[in-house]
Amino acid sequence: MVPSFAYLALSAALFTLGAMGVLVRRSALIIFMSVELMLNSVNLAFVTFARMHQSIEGQVVVFFVLVVTAVEVVVGLALIVDIFRSRESVDVDDVDLLRG
Amino acid sequence: MLSVLIALPLAGALLVALIPREREETIRRVGLAVSLGALVVAAWLFRAFDPASGEMQFAVRVPWIPALGIGYAVGVDGISLLLVGLTAVIFPLALLGSWGSITEQVKWFTVAMLSLEGAVFGTFLALDLILFYVFWEAVLIPMAFLIALWGGPARRYAAIKFFLYTMAASVVMLVAILALHVLGRRLLGERTFDLEVLATMVLPPGVQAWLFAAFALAFAVKVPVWPLHTWLPDAHTEAPTAGSVILAALLLKMGTYGFVRFGPMLFPEALPASAPLLAALAIVGILYGAVVSWAQTDLKRLIAFSSVSHLGFVMLGIASLTEQGLQGSLIQMVNHGISTGALFLIVGVLYDRTHSRQIADYGGVAALMPRFAVIFTIVMLSSVALPGTNGFVGEFLILLGAFQTSTWWAVLGVGGVILSAVYLLWAYQQVMHGPQAARHPERLVEVTRREVLVFAPLVALIFLIGVYPKPLLDRSEAAVQAVLNRLDRPAMAEPLRRPR
């Protein structure tokens, strides 16, 4: 019987990996994917807890998280395309006009 | 009646704000009329005031923000009456005095002055701690703008320093006020900021010391007590004449008024305990201010440091916690307002003509402007506290009070009397006496009728208070008595051997 900690550890690992992705990579696309990764790890945690508490709530929450993730991807990609059209690059570090 | 005194100038400010900018003459007249109106009300108040009772008179108490326990409470007693009178006298003169010198943005100038007048009245009349704090801060804004917009070359720096220095100290007082409110709620079970209610509280000495320190810091910056005085010379050199007059005559008194009003009422143990420290700082202020002004080259800076010295006397009077000391400091607040206000107007007269405040640019002016020389002499003598002028009455009482508390205070204080003669006479001599050496002799024309009109009441007051100070002293006696009773210090034991 796989203990719940295993799943949760996997979820934490994935979350941290996602966070690393956001911090390290400079391409906006990769950063978005990393965020997706983080959100998925949350889903895993929710499912694990749902199973643990035998309450369906956890899984319903995952359903909503999926919805939100989908919308975020749409908005994110729309932003990328918009910036790409005026700047020919997707590198997040080029985006530093506003500072100080 | 007191609310009229506060509301009238503020309403006047609003009225002037509506007048179109071009009609400068009407603006100036309306401004003057409003402040004269305030003078009439103050005069009526002065007469209707009952000298016998030490209690608050004409008190009005109306809840303002009941949720926070803040009320609109105003009242006047012997202590604030003198200062209200001074405010009512100084403002019209300052306005009249600046008709010649303020030319651009006259409208905003008048609005700032009138709102300043309302705020100063409010500060002296407020009984509710938060209301007092509101007016205390409200004074800063117009004054800072007066300095920032109509001031000299480094006006912005001076305005900011003035504003932030005073405000930084007074916000600490705000926190102390809040703490008092909390203690009031806990000890008395009342949600109030009213001074007289909070005064009934018996605070443990430890807490009382801290709270008094916060209040004292805010007032000390305003007085200014040495070493918190460095904002004053900058503010004065950069402020326009009218600004300097108001700053010196009234704003500095808010500090000393604070000590007299809130010290004994709220901190009956902490005030006497810290009196020696206050006295020591006051004495340093007296001597330091006098010596430093002796080395000044700019007239206004010199008068600013002389104010530090004179206010040192007032603080010494308060720190002595004796009848004569307190009454002396009260009347000296009024005297300093008159004499230093007049001194600044005098510098204004010179500045309007030659646009220079450097002593080196003048010399032998007495020959060119004899009538001006007479006025300058009288004001200078009042400042030097010559008997027969108002300065002497105050200084004598203060030193007498200080002597009763500790002889050394009086001995050092009297040193200040000598030094004040040194630097003021030196300055007077550099400017007025000696061979004709002014840079622009042709511009130094005699004082005009309007300028004389400004000086006349001040000179009259100098002699009036000097020769017959009774009306002022009687009105403040009962209030001082009440203050001393609160400090449960018996009025100086009646000497046994009084022959008559």
Partner: protein
């Protein structure tokens, strides 16, 4: 009836000069030039007449010797808690004598000033100040309580400042005026402390009450109060160490020097000690100090006068010296004698000054004796007056000076007998001789021998100046009778009623050999004149080597003051104003301001603009919060 005359006359005496001051002050500009002089003199005369009236009325009321004090309350002036001060006047023998002297001499000098100030463009200002001075001096003399006395005390100081600096376009005059006011102020400060001490101890400032209450004071209090008041007196009466202002005060017009710096103001110090004689007489240690300071000052001033070149400065140091005598008189518990010397000194010193004034008037403002000489013939009356004054000063009988100075020396000797301290008497005697020397030198250098500058054609002073000098000359001659025992010493008897009480005790002490002392002082005077004659015949002025320079430099005291007090004062002021105030205190304040600005700059650098660094910031924040949180939870 007399009672009413006194009660009304005495305040009226004060009102006259006040009216004169207001008239000249306000209307001065518009009056014709001579009118202001006439008004001023008229007012002074009226005041003197009123004083005489009151004096005669007083004689009517008070029996010969019984001293009766008439307190005249005017109005309730000042009240603060327990302190209630009434503006009240006081009539008693001391006040009357002083009032008469001030009034009389004052009137004469007013008349003299009309002539002296004839060519001044707008003399109204001068006469206004002169009238104000007379009012102030009379107020000082007639005050009923110490506070009002102090008001008069500082007002005379003010008038001396205004009059010394009358020709303010001359920097020297303005500086002298300021110096006078400041030095006086130092004395006044001590005086004020004395007043405080008395008030705290006795609870009153009224002079009569103080006189009665003095007994209840403790020894230390009496001594301290007496010394403080005496310190005030040294300031006003230019005794050591606060004498430096009087010589410089000669910058003012000469009538001013005559009136203020010879006859009246400078004697205020002596008057105050006489006024509170009870206090002083019951504090013997303080009296000794008074006597010693008086004697020392007398000797010092006399020696310095030997080597002064400016005639008016010679007279100034002479005044300081004679004042020293008066203080010796006070110190040896002989107040009446001191007052008698005060009166006689007023006559002959005023005369000397007026004569000097007419010399300056004639020689177009030249007063340096080295440039004078041979004036005896052209200025016959002036020279005559000067010589009479000189003789009186030297103490040659029968002139006034001899009687008053000898009386003081007599009491000084009695004091020596009583206490064994003969120093006052010795110094007094030596000073008498030195006085004779320097006055003879002055006479010879100014009037005898060939004129130093033949070109100048001196013309005698106009009658309006000569008449007052003549009157003073008469007084200088006959003044001695007032106190001479042979004439029954009317003045002394009049004063003893008030001041003599304690003195009677001294009488019982061994009686000094009057005849011997008389001879000694006459011998001293004549010897001095002889030495003076031989040394300065034909206007010779031997330098007396290093001692002469030492004397000329006024014992280097002025230099000492400048280097020890004034110069360091300036440097301290400049250091405090500059590096300390601006640098340290203001520096600290600005530092706070700049510090916050710099911090702001740092916080702003945090905003790099790179989104990924912001994300790192978020993560760091998260780790910190979670870490802290879970530890506490």
């Amino acid at each position: 009836m007399n009672d009413v005359v006194i009660r009304v006359g005495w305040p009226l005496m004060l009102v006259w000069p006040l009216v004169g001051w207001l008239a000249n002050g306000l209307l001065g500009g518009r009056l014709p030039r001579t009118a202001s002089g006439i008004i001023a003199s008229g007012v002074a005369g009226a005041s003197f007449a009123t004083a005489l009236l009151v004096a005669s009325a007083y004689r009517g009321v008070a029996a010969a010797d019984a001293a009766v004090s008439f307190p005249i309350p005017l109005f309730d002036w000042l009240g603060a808690g327990r302190l209630t001060v009434e503006a009240s006047l006081l009539v008693d023998p001391l006040a009357l004598v002083m009032a008469l002297v001030v009034g009389g001499v004052g009137f004469l000098i007013h008349v003299y000033s009309i002539g002296y100030m004839a060519d001044d463009p707008h003399p109204s200002r001068y006469f206004a100040y002169l009238n104000l001075f007379v009012f102030a001096m009379l107020l000082l003399v007639s005050a009923g309580n110490l506070l009002l006395l102090f008001v008069g005390w500082e007002l005379v100081g003010l008038c001396s400042y205004l009059l010394i600096g009358y020709w303010f376009d001359r920097p020297a005059a303005a500086a002298a005026g300021r110096k006078a006011f400041v030095v006086n102020r130092i004395g006044d400060a001590a005086f004020l402390l004395g007043v405080f001490l008395l008030f705290v101890a006795l609870g009153t400032l009224d002079i009569l009450e103080i006189r009665e209450g003095v007994a209840t004071l403790s020894g230390a209090e009496r001594r301290l109060a007496a010394l403080l008041l005496f310190a005030g007196a040294t300031g006003k009466s230019a005794q050591l160490p606060l004498h430096i202002w009087l010589p410089d005060a000669m910058e003012g017009p000469t009538p001013v020097s005559a009136l203020i710096h010879a006859a009246t103001m400078v004697t205020a110090g002596v008057f105050v000690i006489a006024r509170l004689d009870r206090l002083f007489l019951t504090a013997p240690e303080a009296l000794v100090v008074v006597a010693m300071v008086g004697a020392l000052t007398a000797f010092f001033a006399a020696t310095v006068a030997l080597r002064q070149h400016d005639l008016k400065r010679v007279l100034a140091y002479s005044t300081i010296s004679q004042l020293g005598y008066m203080f010796v008189g006070m110190g040896v518990a002989a107040p009446s004698a001191a007052i008698f010397h005060l009166v006689s000194h007023a006559f002959f010193k005023a005369l000397l000054f007026l004569a000097a004034g007419s010399v300056m008037h004639a020689m177009h403002e030249v007063i340096d004796m080295r440039r004078l000489g041979g004036l005896a013939r052209p200025l016959r009356q002036t020279a005559g007056g000067f010589v009479i004054g000189a003789l009186a000063l030297a103490g040659v009988p029968p002139f006034a000076g001899f009687f008053s100075k000898d009386l003081i020396l007599e009491h000084a000797f009695a004091f020596g007998l009583r206490t064994g301290n003969y120093l006052p008497y010795a110094l007094g005697l030596v000073t008498a001789a030195v006085t004779a020397v320097y006055i003879t030198r002055a006479v010879l250098l100014t009037f005898s021998g060939p004129p130093a500058e033949p070109g100048a054609r001196p013309h005698e002073a106009p009658p309006v100046m000569l008449w007052p000098m003549a009157a003073l000359a008469v007084l200088s001659v006959t003044g001695g009778l007032l106190g001479a025992s042979v004439a029954g010493a009317p003045l002394l008897r009049f004063l003893d009623g008030l001041l003599g009480l304690v003195e009677s005790g001294a009488e019982a002490a061994p009686h000094p050999p009057a005849g011997l002392l008389l001879g000694l002082s006459v011998a001293a005077a004549l010897a001095g004149m002889l030495v003076g004659w031989r040394a300065h015949r034909g206007r010779r002025d031997p330098v007396l080597g290093r001692v002469g320079v030492f004397l000329e430099q006024r014992w280097y005291i002025d230099a000492l003051y400048d280097r020890a007090i004034v110069a360091p004062g300036h440097t301290l002021a400049r250091w405090l104003a500059g590096p300390f105030d601006l640098g340290v205190i203001d520096g600290a304040v600005n530092l706070v301001g700049r510090g916050l600005g710099a911090l702001g700059g740092q916080a702003r650098r945090l905003q790099t603009g790179y989104a990924r660094q912001y994300a790192l910031g978020v993560l760091i924040g998260t780790v910190l919060i979670l870490g802290y949180w879970m530890l506490r939870w």
